[in-house]
């Protein structure tokens, strides 16, 4: 079901899977998206992949942003993607940010993470990419 109404805000879930407590990056991105007119559902710290997928579906978001600095991305991101697929929502775009080595980033993109932002990425780039991803899914 595409969003038929022009000009409706894009809804995005920002969540931190796993156990690290460093949420500054997620908050900075949430705020930048807010200022760009997104409705940001901020799920916060220590979310399980199950909780993230449930929140995304209940909130009917247009895309999901995951932030991680613990190093557990190779375990947690594919789990989120698999659960989305299982719920028949495999087309929901997922982007990610955090400390993710290039080699891992390549593999995660292959697995279906649509964009990965490392340290130093400009907020402008994140916002523009998020807008593009949401539009591509609609």
């Amino acid at each position: 079901m595409a969003r038929p109404t022009k000009g409706s805000p894009i809804r995005v879930l920002i969540a931190k899977p796993g156990l690290d407590g460093h949420d500054r990056g997620a908050k900075v991105v949430a705020r930048a998206l807010r200022d760009a007119g997104f409705e940001v559902i901020y799920a916060g710290l220590r979310q399980t992949p199950e909780e993230i997928v449930r929140a995304a579906l209940e909130e009917d978001v247009d895309l999901i942003g995951l932030s991680i600095l613990s190093g557990a991305h190779m375990a947690l991101f594919p789990k989120v993607l698999a659960l989305l697929k299982k719920e028949n929502a495999g087309d929901l775009p997922v982007f990610a940010g955090g400390i993710i080595p290039d080699e891992d980033a390549r593999r995660l993109k292959k697995a279906g993470i649509r964009a990965i932002f490392g340290p130093g990425t400009s907020l402008e780039e994140i916002v523009t990419t998020a807008q593009k991803l949401a539009r591509s899914a609609a």
Partner: protein, 321 residues
């Protein structure tokens, strides 16, 4: 039955408990998608008038945390519950950060709970324009109870009164002296008062001030709002809060107020719908329609005043092309 045969598939899915479809139709309502009308129409007669409990109060008093604990309590009682949590939209970008979900700690696999964050999208009064209809969709989806968390704008957070069957007003110690409680607005809409963070000093004074306010009362229609002390970490008073809500719901039935209030809320809703339609149409026409633009020019050049312009529109003496 032909009527069932004509029911839109989305309405059928919501009645059958499909949460995905519920989530999507909620977005359609929020986005004022006109295709939602037949779904809404088909579901209205299937709602079972589930209690809608509003949780209002200034920002930071612990509304989200209280809702989290109330939902826990309701699940223990085997009641299913849906939550709508409203946060403000930015007047600048139109965007928002909806953060009420953070306080929500439920098992990810519990089908008896549904949580939806909602941006106010410019609506004053602490709820969104779509909140009422979304609560109704949740009712149709079979939830036993709907909880609505308001924006937390404070003294004027009163629109919940036109949606909820029971309004809980949450406060904390040291929000102000007893004169604050006399002011119009938030304090008037309470069916239940909740002094949260009651582990903090001053809770007893806040309770006393509120009890005094209730006692000053001429309480409308024979209900004296109880004052409940609660705390969320560690949790205390949650049972008492729920009991207070339940007594109010029972009072609505025993006193006959439920029907009276329901009719009042429905009349507000119908008037709002008409106002919204007429308003939207007029705003659009003031931009596009030459006859109306001319009227606007006259007001702008001070040859007529806004009231006269409104009279002319109302009488239909200014017509569309």
């Amino acid at each position: 039955m032909t009527r069932a045969a004509r029911m839109p598939s989305a309405a059928r899915a919501i009645l059958d408990g499909d949460r995905r479809v519920l989530a999507r139709v909620i977005s359609q309502v929020e986005n004022r998608d006109p295709t939602v009308a037949p779904i809404s129409r088909a579901l209205y007669s299937r709602t079972h008038a589930a209690p809608i409990v509003g949780v209002a109060g200034p920002l930071g008093v612990g509304k989200s945390s209280l809702i989290n604990l109330l939902v826990g309590r309701l699940r223990e009682l085997d009641r299913t519950v849906a939550v709508v949590a409203v946060d403000p939209s930015s007047p600048f970008s139109g965007g928002s950060v909806l953060g009420d979900r953070i306080r929500f700690e439920r098992r990810a696999d519990d089908p008896g709970v549904f949580f939806r964050s909602m941006a106010s999208r410019g609506e004053p009064g602490g709820v969104a324009a779509a909140t009422r209809e979304v609560a109704r969709l949740m009712d149709a989806a079979g939830f036993d109870l709907i909880l609505v968390e308001t924006v937390g704008s404070g003294q004027v957070d009163v629109a919940i009164r036109d949606i909820a069957t029971t309004s809980v007003v949450v406060l904390v110690p040291h929000l102000g002296d007893e004169v604050q409680t006399l002011k119009a607005g938030l304090f008037e809409i309470a069916d239940v008062f909740c002094v949260n963070k009651s582990d903090l000093p001053g809770a007893e004074i806040a309770r006393r001030d509120l009890a005094e306010l209730v006692g000053l009362g001429a309480s409308r229609s024979g209900w004296a709002p109880p004052v409940v002390l609660t705390s969320t970490s560690p949790p205390s008073g949650i049972d008492a809060l729920w009991s207070a809500v339940e007594s109010h719901e029972r009072y609505l039935d025993s006193s006959g107020r439920r029907t009276v209030e329901e009719r009042r809320r429905l009349s507000v809703e119908i008037v709002e719908r008409v106002r919204e339609r007429v308003g939207d149409e007029l705003s659009a026409r003031l931009d596009r329609d030459p006859a109306l633009r001319k009227l606007l020019d006259e007001v702008a050049s001070r040859s007529i005043d806004p009231r006269t312009a409104a009279d002319r529109l109302d009488r239909g003496s200014v017509r569309a092309r």
